[in-house]
Amino acid sequence: MTEDLNKGRDIFKEEAYELLAKLENCLLELEMVPDDKEMIERAFRAMHTIKGSSSMFGFDAIANLTHEAETVYEMVRKDKVKVTKELIDLTFRVIDQIMAVIGKHEYDESADESKINDIIFSFKQLLSKEGLEVSHPSSLRSRSPQERELSRSSHFAEQDLAEETKSTKRTYMIYFRPHHDIFLKGLNPLLLLSELCQLGRCTIITHTDLIPDLEDIDPEACYTYWDVFLTTAEDINAIRDIFIFVEDNCEIKINVIDTGNSLDNEEAHKHLSNIIFEKAELTEKDVEGLITGWRNTGKHNEVKNNSTGDSLQDKLQQGGGMVRGHQMEVSSIRVAANKLDKLVNLVGELVTVQARLSQAVITRNDPEMLLIAEEIERLTDDLRDSTMNVRLVPIGTIFNRFKRLVRDLSNELGKEVEFTTRGGETELDKNVIEKLNDPLVHIIRNSIDHGIEPPANREASGKSRRGMVHLSSEYSGANVLIKIRDDGAGIDLKEIRKDAIEKGLIREDTSLTERDILSIIFSPGFSTSEKVTKVSGRGVGLDVVKRCIDTLRGTVDIDSKKGRGMIITLKIPLTLAIIEGLLLKVGDNQYILPLSAVEECIELTRQDVAGAHGRHIVNVRGRIIPYIRLRDFLNIDGTMPDIEQIVITEVNGKKVGLAVDHVIGEHQTVIKSLGRIYRDVDVLSGATILGNGKVAIILNIPKIVEYTESKEMTMVSGSA
């Protein structure tokens, strides 16, 4: 039971985290437009859902805290309290404390009872200042969660009833059937029904037909299920919110059976429940008959004398099939991340086996088998693409987190910063997005701390007081480009060079391009900040960014003009699991290059080599391109073929070739990690298993180029 309860609590934590993220966004929007009714409503609903669910899972501290916040926001909904900076700050503190309680320490807060009490006290003070009555903390604290829920239930039922008269209501039919083991997960279905009743006029039909005889009953299992008629002004999301924490533990169907106010009376509900009670099913005709009768006469008994002259019960007997109104099934489901990972791993194995099958079929020369193998290949490709798509999530999910970061940082540093985003809908693999969070935090912190100047300095240099940090993302082939742009002080190249010499990172006579100097800021231990601040300047940060992006097989590029600002561009592959690769052969070994990095393949003859007089360059349609011979780079012995192949790629805006013995062709590459022993060998980014069972190494092109350039530079400066 404890294990199941813990699982339930874990689900609560995960989903509470999402609700808190939504709440945080609402607050940031409200800070800009304090009277935005929709945002106020969303914030209220998020708090209400967290409160109800936290109470159900035994997080009483969260329930108490959100109850107080919700009370104040209820007053905001009624225009009795204004949205002020004080209220927003206080609500952010609520978020931080809940994060701390559920163990997601986003903003370095730790759960602290005195802080929680302090926040509760501040909320009460806020209400007192407005001359509004405050609720008694003891009344909430000393009672059981169920009692609290009940008292709130009547409180909100009254309010809702008053508000609902203002707008059009819908009548929903909700089928709620908990799984047998729901009690063992610490969940109480009655609390959910109670919450439903808070939304409006509610009639509940309990189905007990599945409860067995006393001899057969498992006393810890749930056999009861319900049909609920709910007439409310709330939309379907408000109903879904109530079930958000139990959706994996029950069957839920929500149907709209009426979109007008026709069924908003006790008698209509009574008759609907009688139909369900008698027949177990409801037809559209039943509802139509009931509504028509009601509109015509205002009385249900007149329905019996409608145009057909039949009673509802008669109609039911004639009706037959079950139509539950316009069914609005949940269009998405929540799946645990580890289940998705497992699915991707299995698809990876399938891709590998399929490659083996294709190879085996080709050697046997059996036309029938070949057809089957091709069909399997097509299906495997479709399955791979679909599976990869399932893992894609919009990058906007992390963009939103940075709004709070920018707000808090700019307040802390006394700077004025406008944070804008674009391309939040760009989708990336879930694992890639998770790993992008830390590098982006570092970069944004760095931009605000070192880049954006204090308002007075900006004005003095003719800029607007308010600095700008813009985060954008866009697709670029099989990659996503994420750009972080600011209009701050930019980078002083001379200063960087001077610091790098002082720190021994470069020699005084080293000749560097502008791009080379800029890339120094990603070196370990480099920081130009004169003082160490809480925000940045400890000499760690941007080198960590580079390392993180390297592990994602991505690249970091930087561009800056002194006094104008800086742009950092991250180029990230769409997925880390399966990529389109180009299979190459050097000696007896096979290698893979990511196909997205390949521009073209050309031949390199002995004649071409002789014409270059020992230099590794090739003429491609009049353009001289340097190349790296992988045979030399990887120290592979043996005889070179008469005609080699050069794979042309682009690294940091420069064309570079990689000379290999043969280009075999495209290959679906399931990426496997190389293990700890190869951790520091950054020119290799993984491995894959080929159809013949052999292993092919995946090469990291930018690292190979970087390594070769640095080796040549050392040789040049050594000879000088």
Binding site: L150, C202, T206, T208, P212, D213, L214, E215, P219, E220
Partner: protein
């Protein structure tokens, strides 16, 4: 939990109280089975304020089904109905509940907190 049997009337009074929730549901099942096995009429008496949950309601419903099948009676003592109603209210038991199983919805544990007869 205590079961007193009056052999002459073939009647038993099952006295229960306190927390009647899932934690005690196995013990409750056993004593209900014992009661319905021994006598023709089982009367439930709450000796103190009670706390109930859905697991208890289901158990009671199952006992009711069994009593009907065996042509026996399971009832809550008349002056005790308010105790059950209060327990329902305390757990936020929704109103307007109906039980398809019950012969008489006015005397159904689900719909009114009344007794099964």
């Amino acid at each position: 939990m205590n079961l007193k049997v009056d052999d002459s009337k073939k009647e038993g009074v099952l006295t229960i109280g306190g927390t009647l929730t899932i934690q005690r549901s196995t013990a409750l099942k056993e004593i209900l089975l014992k009661a319905l096995g021994q006598v023709d009429c089982v009367k439930i008496h709450f000796d103190q304020a009670i706390e109930v949950d859905l697991a208890f309601l289901q158990l009671f419903c199952a006992a009711h089904k069994t009593s009907l099948r065996k042509n026996k009676k399971l009832q809550i003592e008349e002056n005790q109905i308010d105790v059950l109603k209060k327990a329902f209210k305390d757990i936020g038991f929704p109103q307007f509940m109906k039980c398809k199983n019950s012969d008489d919805s006015n005397h159904c544990v689900w719909s009114s907190g009344g007794s099964h007869e």
